[in-house]
């Protein structure tokens, strides 16, 4: 009988095999046992479109605000909680992506409702709404506070080496995007991406007022 010694490489092989079983089983079990049940609809300002979150029907952008009669126009995981805006047939919304461990990542996308086409506008950014003069206010280079980015090691790994993304949201920038021109017309580098007075400081004022105060 051969005398075999358990070496570090051997341990690594065993670890790979057993953890494959554990991780896939655990992640699958968590998805299956996800207890959250929801069926909610949030209207998008100035349009007859709404964003639907549902565990019973496909989530996405729907026409109409009645959750029972609304017609699904664009399927996806979009959010109106931080803000959404419409300009003609184009919607500007936050699109959420979840990692397998449940970290929520957010990008600002524009959706052409006529062409039924989604295109990314700002990756790792949050649309906060419109300012008083109509420009969209976007905070770029941020991780959502619900992920606990300052203490979450995975957020730090995600942000590592990424241009303009910092786990402490230190590199965040407030962008004023003019949807009629399709350009960023003003930028404010800052750290107040999710502050309580964000609405008063940026959304309630016109761009000129913001420039004056800045």
């Amino acid at each position: 009988m051969k005398d075999r010694k358990l070496t570090l490489n051997g341990i690594l092989v065993i670890l790979i095999v057993f953890s494959a079983i554990y991780l896939f089983a655990t992640i699958t079990a968590f998805r299956v046992m996800d207890p959250s049940v929801m069926n909610e609809t949030y209207p998008i300002e100035g349009t007859d479109y709404s964003i639907r979150y549902s565990t019973f029907e496909p989530s996405g952008i729907v026409k109409g605000s009645n959750s029972n009669t609304a017609e699904l126009v664009f399927e996806g995981n979009y959010g109106a909680d931080w803000g959404a805006a419409a300009e003609g047939d184009t919607l500007y919304v936050n699109a959420y992506r979840a990692t397998s461990y449940g970290l929520m990542l957010c990008d600002v996308v524009q959706i052409d409702l006529a062409g039924r086409k989604e295109s990314p506008l700002f990756p790792n950014a949050v649309l906060r709404g419109r300012c008083a003069s109509g420009e969209l206010v976007v905070v770029s280079g941020v991780l959502l506070p619900a992920n606990y980015p300052e203490s979450n090691a995975l957020c730090r790994l995600y942000a590592m080496g990424s241009a303009g993304l910092h786990p402490d949201n230190k590199e965040s920038e407030i962008l004023f995007f003019d949807p009629s021109v399709g350009e960023v017309v003003y930028r404010i580098p800052g750290t107040s991406a999710f502050s309580d007075d964000f609405e008063e400081r940026y959304l309630d004022k016109t761009l000129e007022e913001v420039k004056t105060c800045d």
Partner: protein, 173 residues
């Protein structure tokens, strides 16, 4: 005739460990530190909501990996959005280095020397990258960055000692 040489998973521990062998083992053991965090967080997501021992180990482990590897892992994570890929990439890299180390350091004197020289250049390049003023160098905090630098510097010294012993033995022959 065997075209593919057999893969050796084990190393005879009765032979004295050289600096390069130690480097491989240190690298393998430290690669397991971030794995622990990922392993536990799969079943207990609450681990991710606060600073704790596991996240400190994650930071320390990630900081001791070659900076290029941790950047590649971060890019893999951003691209796939899947932590499980990161987990297996970490383990696969540690295993690959272990197998290569066993083969290159043991099989042939000349290939072992070349490998040590390559490792020396790689570690020096890594140390220079670490002190350069890039934002990613501060991702895991100053204590982890200092720990990572110290471990890699120690590995460099071990391999240089190996190379010196190698040269002296060649001169004596």
């Amino acid at each position: 005739m065997r075209l593919i040489p057999p893969i050796t998973f084990g190393t005879d521990v009765r032979k004295a460990l050289s600096g390069a062998d130690l480097y491989v083992r240190v690298f393998q053991i430290l690669s397991l530190l971030p794995v622990l965090y990922l392993f536990v967080a799969a079943a207990h997501p609450a681990v991710m909501t606060s600073r704790n021992v596991l996240s400190a180990l994650f930071d320390a482990g990630m900081s001791t990996l070659p900076r290029a590897e941790s950047l590649l892992l971060a890019a893999l994570y951003r691209h796939t959005g899947n932590e499980i890929y990161v987990y297996f990439a970490l383990l696969a890299a540690a295993l690959l280095l272990g197998i290569l180390g066993n083969r290159l350091f043991r099989d042939n004197h000349r290939s072992g020397r070349k490998t040590r020289l390559v490792f020396t250049v790689m570690i020096v390049a890594d140390l220079i990258l670490r002190v350069a003023p890039f934002a990613f160098n501060s991702t895991f905090g100053l204590p982890a960055a200092v720990f990572g630098f110290a471990v890699r510097l120690a590995c460099l010294v071990l391999i240089l000692l190996d190379l010196r012993a190698d040269r002296q033995s060649t001169v004596i022959k």
